[in-house]
C-alpha cells in the first residue's frame, strides 16, 4: 500500500528552480532513500511534506488525504515525524524533557492545559522516554542540558524524539552526518531495528554505506528532478546517476 504520494511538485526560490515536476511514491513499511548531490533539493522536498514549505504546484497525499494547507503540527499529529539536517531540539531543556515533550504531544494532542499535576507524576511516560534515550544510547545523559551535546548526539536525541511518537512515516535528513564511525554504525543498527518494527522511513543520506544497508528503494535527485528510481542493486549501474555524481566518484 502507498503511504505517501507526491505528484508533479514544483518549487521556486526566486530564479532558482529547486524542485521540478517531482513525482514520488513511498510504500508502507519500506525504507526509501533519497540521494543526490548537495543542493539537489532533497531537504526542500522534505520541507514540502511537513508543512515547512508550500510547493508552488503539485500535490502531496499522506494515507489518502492531502497535506497541503495543513499546519506543521497537524501534519505531525497525522503521523509524520522528521529528523532535521541541522538538529532542531529544545536546547535549554534536558534530554529527558526533550523526549517527553513529543510523548505528551502524541498522547494529549496539539494543546492541553495540563497545568496542575507535576511532570514527575507522569511515570509511564517518563519511563517510555527513558527507554527511547536508552535505545539511542543517551540514557546516561538524560538529565543534562541538551544544548551542550555534540552534533551527532543531538541527531540521536532528535531521533529519540521522533521514535517516542511511533510515527507512521519517519523522515530522516542525513541522520548520521556529524557522527563518529562507531555512532554511525550504532545508528544504522537502530534504524534497521526500527524498520523491522514496520515504521515507514524516508532517508536522505550521503553515506552510501548507510543507504545500501538500509534502503529497499532509492530515488536519485539532481537539480530538482528525479533522474532515477530503482532498487539499490540497479542504481549503481545507472549512467544518469553516475553522471550526476561526476563520473561516479561517490559510488
Amino acid at each position: 500500500m502507498t503511504i505517501l504520494t507526491v505528484r508533479n511538485i514544483n518549487k521556486r526560490f526566486g530564479g532558482l528552480k529547486a524542485l521540478n515536476e517531482v513525482n514520488l511514491t513511498i510504500e508502507e513499511g519500506t525504507v526509501h532513500a533519497i540521494i543526490g548531490p548537495n543542493g539537489a533539493g532533497k531537504s526542500t522536498l522534505l520541507n514540502c511534506f511537513i508543512g515547512r514549505l508550500e510547493p508552488d504546484t503539485g500535490t502531496v497525499e499522506f494515507n489518502g488525504t492531502s497535506l497541503l494547507g495543513l499546519k506543521p503540527h497537524q501534519i505531525n499529529q497525522a503521523g509524520v515525524s522528521r529528523v532535521f539536517q541541522t538538529p532542531e531540539i529544545f536546547g535549554e531543556l534536558t534530554l529527558l524533557e526533550n523526549v517527553m515533550i513529543p510523548a505528551f504531544a502524541k498522547r494529549d494532542g496539539a494543546f492541553t492545559l495540563n497545568a496542575w499535576g507535576p511532570v514527575r507524576g507522569e511515570r509511564s511516560l517518563m519511563e517510555r522516554a527513558m527507554e527511547m534515550l536508552n535505545d539511542v544510547g543517551l540514557a546516561k545523559k538524560a538529565n543534562d542540558v541538551s544544548g551542550q551535546l555534540s552534533r551527532g548526539d543531538k541527531r540521536r536525541l532528535e531521533l529519540a524524539m521522533c521514535l517516542v511518537q511511533e510515527p507512521k512515516l519517519l523522515l530522516l535528513d542525513e541522520p548520521t552526518a556529524g557522527m563518529a564511525r562507531a555512532d554511525t554504525n550504532n545508528t544504522i543498527d537502530l534504524l534497521k531495528e526500527i524498520a523491522g518494527r514496520g515504521i515507514t522511513m524516508v532517508v536522505i543520506e550521503h553515506d552510501m554505506h548507510v543507504v545500501f544497508s538500509l534502503a529497499q528503494k532509492i530515488s536519485v535527485l539532481a537539480q530538482g528532478t528525479v533522474i532515477a528510481e530503482d532498487l539499490p542493486q540497479n542504481i549503481k549501474g545507472n549512467p544518469k546517476v553516475q553522471e550526476a555524481y561526476l563520473g561516479g566518484a561517490h559510488l
Binding site: 505531525n76 515525524s81 532535521f84 531540539i89 529544545f90 517527553m100 515533550i101 513529543p102 504531544a105 497545568a115
Partner: protein, 397 residues
C-alpha cells in the same frame, strides 16, 4: 534527580515561603516596615510572579502588563460602587477583567514575536492608558473619571451592601465584616509591630499565587511553555500548537496582574490611569529581571527589593542628605549633597536605573544567580577541585 527528593524540596520551599510571609511584618519592623509597605510587597510580588509565568517561561517580553493591573483595579472599584464593600467579589471581578483584557490584547500581539510583540503590547497598553485618562473619563460614558481617578461616593448604589455607613460616611472595604484598613499593634522584643487586616488578605493571595505558579512550573504545561521559549519550530514539527500555549500563559499572567490591581483597590478603594502607564509596565519587567526571570522566587524578591528601595530613596530629600553628610567638612558635605540629591526623592528612578544596569551587566541571571554563585562558593570551598564550576548550569530556584 530523584522524584521524591524534588517533591520534598518543593514542600520545603512553599513552607518556607508561608513562614516568610507570615513573619514578614515582624522581620521588616526593624527595617522600617509598616503595613502599607508590606501590602505593596505582596501585591507587586503577585504582579511579578504572574509576569514571570509569561516572560520567565515563554520568553515573550510584554511591555503592557500594567494595563491589566489598571483594568483590574478599575473593575474592583466599580464592584465597590455597584455591589458592596466586600473585597472578595471585587478581587474576583478584577481577575476576570484582567483575564479578558489580556485575552484580547494577547490574541492580537502574539501574532508576532520578539521585539514586534513587545512593541504591540506597549502600544495596546498606551491605548488603554489614554482611554482611561481621557476618552472613558468623559461625561456620558464615564468609566474611569479621567485624570481625577475613580473614587467611591456616598450615593453609589452598592446594590448588595449599604451605600453609607451608620455614621453617614462611605463604608470601608472589608471581608465579611473585617475591615482592611484596621491595624493591630503588639509589642515584641521591645519593638512595636503593626499589622493590618489588609496584609493578611494580601498574604493569603500571595501564598496562593506562589503555590499556583509553582504547580505551573512543575507541570507538563510549564514544560511546554519553556519549549515555546527554546524552539517554537521544533515544537510545531512535534505536533504542538504553540500559539494557544503562549496565549494561555499570557492570559494567566494577565489574571495575576488583575488580581494585583484588585488587591490595590481593596486596600485603598480608588483607581487612576497612571497605574496603566508604560513606566508601570516597565517596573514589573525590572522586578522580574532583577530577581531572576524564570526562577520561582526571584521575581518576588525583585519586587520586594525595588519597592523597599523606592520606599527609602524616595523619602530622602536635601535635608535628610545634609544630615547624612553632617560628619564631613562643610564644603565636602554640600558637594556630596549636590551629587547625591538627583538620585533621591523624585529622582529615585535614577538610582533604580543604576542598580538595574549593574545587575544586568554583572548578574544577568538576576539576584537568584548571585545567591547561586554565593552558594557554589561555599560548597566549592568545602570540597575544592571536584569540578563544581563545570557542573551544568541549572536555573537557581
Amino acid at each position: 534527580m530523584n522524584a521524591k527528593a524534588s517533591s520534598r524540596n518543593d514542600l520545603y520551599l512553599i513552607l518556607g515561603f508561608i513562614v516568610a510571609v507570615a513573619l514578614g511584618p515582624i522581620i521588616m519592623t526593624p527595617f522600617g516596615g509598616y503595613p502599607d509597605l508590606l501590602q505593596k510587597f505582596a501585591i507587586f510580588g503577585i504582579f511579578a510572579i504572574g509576569f514571570n509565568i509569561l516572560f520567565g517561561l515563554t520568553g515573550y517580553l510584554s511591555f503592557g502588563h500594567a494595563a491589566f493591573l489598571g483594568a483590574g483595579s478599575y473593575a474592583a472599584v466599580w464592584c465597590f460602587k455597584l455591589v458592596g464593600m466586600n473585597v472578595l467579589p471585587a478581587i474576583i471581578s478584577a481577575m476576570i477583567v484582567g483575564g479578558l483584557f489580556s485575552a484580547l490584547i494577547g490574541f492580537v500581539s502574539l501574532r508576532r514575536s520578539g521585539i514586534y510583540f513587545s512593541i504591540l503590547t506597549l502600544a495596546f497598553a498606551q491605548m488603554c492608558y489614554n482611554l482611561a485618562y481621557s476618552v472613558l473619563g468623559q461625561p456620558g460614558m464615564n468609566l474611569t473619571n479621567g485624570e481625577t481617578g475613580l473614587q467611591l461616593k456616598l450615593d453609589d448604589p452598592r446594590y448588595f451592601g449599604e451605600s453609607a455607613s451608620e455614621s453617614g460616611t462611605i463604608p470601608p472595604t472589608s471581608m465579611f465584616g473585617i475591615e482592611m484598613k484596621q491595624i493591630h499593634e503588639f509589642d515584641l522584643f521591645g519593638m512595636t509591630v503593626q499589622v493590618s487586616n489588609g496584609y493578611f488578605v494580601c498574604a493569603l493571595f500571595v501564598i496562593l499565587a506562589f503555590y499556583v505558579s509553582m504547580r505551573i512550573f512543575r507541570s507538563p504545561f510549564g514544560m511546554m511553555l519553556r519549549a515555546v521559549k527554546t524552539n517554537q519550530n521544533r515544537m510545531s514539527y512535534t505536533g504542538l500548537n504553540t500559539r494557544p500555549y503562549a496565549l494561555a500563559a499570557f492570559v494567566i499572567s494577565g489574571m495575576y496582574a488583575g488580581l494585583a490591581g484588585g488587591l490595590m483597590s481593596a486596600m485603598d478603594p480608588l483607581a487612576g490611569a497612571e497605574r496603566m502607564q508604560w513606566t508601570a509596565s516597565g517596573e514589573v519587567v525590572l522586578m522580574t529581571i532583577l530577581g531572576g526571570a524564570g526562577t520561582l522566587i526571584g521575581p518576588i524578591i525583585g519586587a520586594g527589593v525595588i519597592k523597599y528601595l523606592e520606599n527609602i530613596f524616595s523619602s530622602f530629600n536635601d535635608q535628610v542628605m545634609t544630615g547624612f553628610f553632617d560628619f564631613l567638612p562643610d564644603w565636602l558635605g554640600s558637594a556630596m549633597v549636590w551629587i547625591t540629591s538627583p538620585f533621591v526623592g523624585e529622582g529615585w528612578h535614577l538610582t533604580l536605573g543604576v542598580i538595574f544596569m549593574l545587575i544586568v551587566i554583572f548578574l544577568p541571571g538576576g539576584l537568584m544567580e548571585g545567591f547561586a554563585r554565593i552558594g557554589r562558593l561555599f560548597r566549592g570551598s568545602r570540597k575544592r577541585g571536584e569540578g563544581a564550576a563545570d557542573a551544568p548550569r541549572v536555573p537557581a530556584e
